[in-house]
């Protein structure tokens, strides 16, 4: 799975995700990626979110929307909301989850429960920051 979240010069946010799915999946299995609020969600000015990992777990957790709800209704900072959305149901939702989030202030958050998440960001066109391991 790949994803992107962006903030443009008009202050608007957007999120996108695209996936080839789980290897060895049954035919007809749909992932979290196209489920709005599951793997992909954006809502000015709160955040834009794109998820990756085991889709069944992300769909059940409505993970992308969870980040937004924690920011909007619980007043959590973006990074805290991202971490909580990945860890708060870990007894029930056991599986790989990773996400990237961005808000209208240009703050970026990465949260994941794996040891590898290929990720990067760039603010106002400056030198990009790339990271792979936890």
């Amino acid at each position: 799975t790949v994803g992107a979240v962006a903030l443009d010069q008009h202050g608007n946010l957007a999120a996108g995700t695209s996936t080839g799915g789980l290897e060895n999946r049954l035919k007809g299995r749909i992932s979290d990626t196209p489920i709005i609020g599951g793997g992909t969600y954006a809502n000015n000015p709160y955040c834009a979110v794109s998820c990756t990992g085991e889709g069944e777990v992300i769909m059940r957790g409505a993970t992308a929307h969870e980040v937004y709800a924690l920011v909007k209704y619980a007043g959590e900072k973006l990074e805290k909301a991202a971490d909580k959305a990945v860890t708060m149901y870990e007894e029930l939702l056991q599986g790989d989850i990773g996400l990237i989030a961005l808000n209208q202030q240009g703050e970026v958050a990465f949260a994941f429960n794996t040891n590898l998440m290929k990720r990067g960001y760039s603010i106002s066109g400056k030198k990009p920051h790339i990271a792979l391991w936890d």
Partner: protein, 167 residues
């Protein structure tokens, strides 16, 4: 110039660190950097967040290293199929695509659906027919299959189906 920003990911999984060579790490880094450049090229010119997201993801779909578009994982039958979605935080408009097999860039189809279609989520042959009506590029199945994914599929088919499958 007002502030703009972009972040990308290309998957999260738990792997043995030894499985990821320095050379593979460098290819990951290059792929991520190319995606950020593609998105920044849109944002620097005052382009929309939607277009920046689509440009960054399209670049990663075209990169056989990542599990989207070319280089996607194979299902139980050794076939590719793809899902994608895009969402505009300003209008809450969305475009989603499920189980398409021949669309070269599923994120472009998701964007067309968001902009032009009366529905928000199209799947299977209906989504592919819509791609045809919008003049999007379709590819033959072999375009999407890489040697690495084929090898992984053979190992998993010959191996234990119950093994944990990766995104």
């Amino acid at each position: 110039m007002s502030k703009f920003a972009i972040a990308v990911h290309a998957g999260a999984e738990t792997v043995k660190r030894a499985e990821v060579t320095k050379e593979l790490e460098n290819r990951y880094r290059e792929g991520l950097e190319e995606a950020l450049q593609a998105g920044n090229a849109v944002l620097e010119k005052g382009g929309s967040a939607i277009d920046a997201v689509a440009a960054a993801i399209e670049r990663m779909e075209d990169n056989p290293l990542f599990n989207a578009g070319k280089g996607g994982s194979l299902n139980l039958h050794g076939e590719n199929d793809f899902d994608a979605a895009i969402m505009d935080g300003h209008t809450l408009n969305v475009g989603s695509v499920g189980s398409v097999r021949y669309v070269k860039n599923p994120i472009k189809l998701a964007k067309e659906i968001m902009i032009r279609c009366k529905h928000s989520f199209l799947s299977g042959t209906g989504a592919e027919e819509y791609a045809l009506t919008q003049g999007l590029e379709l590819e033959k199945p072999s375009y999407f299959v890489t040697e690495e994914k084929q090898k992984e599929w053979h190992e998993s088919v010959l191996g234990d189906h119950r093994q944990k499958s990766h995104d």
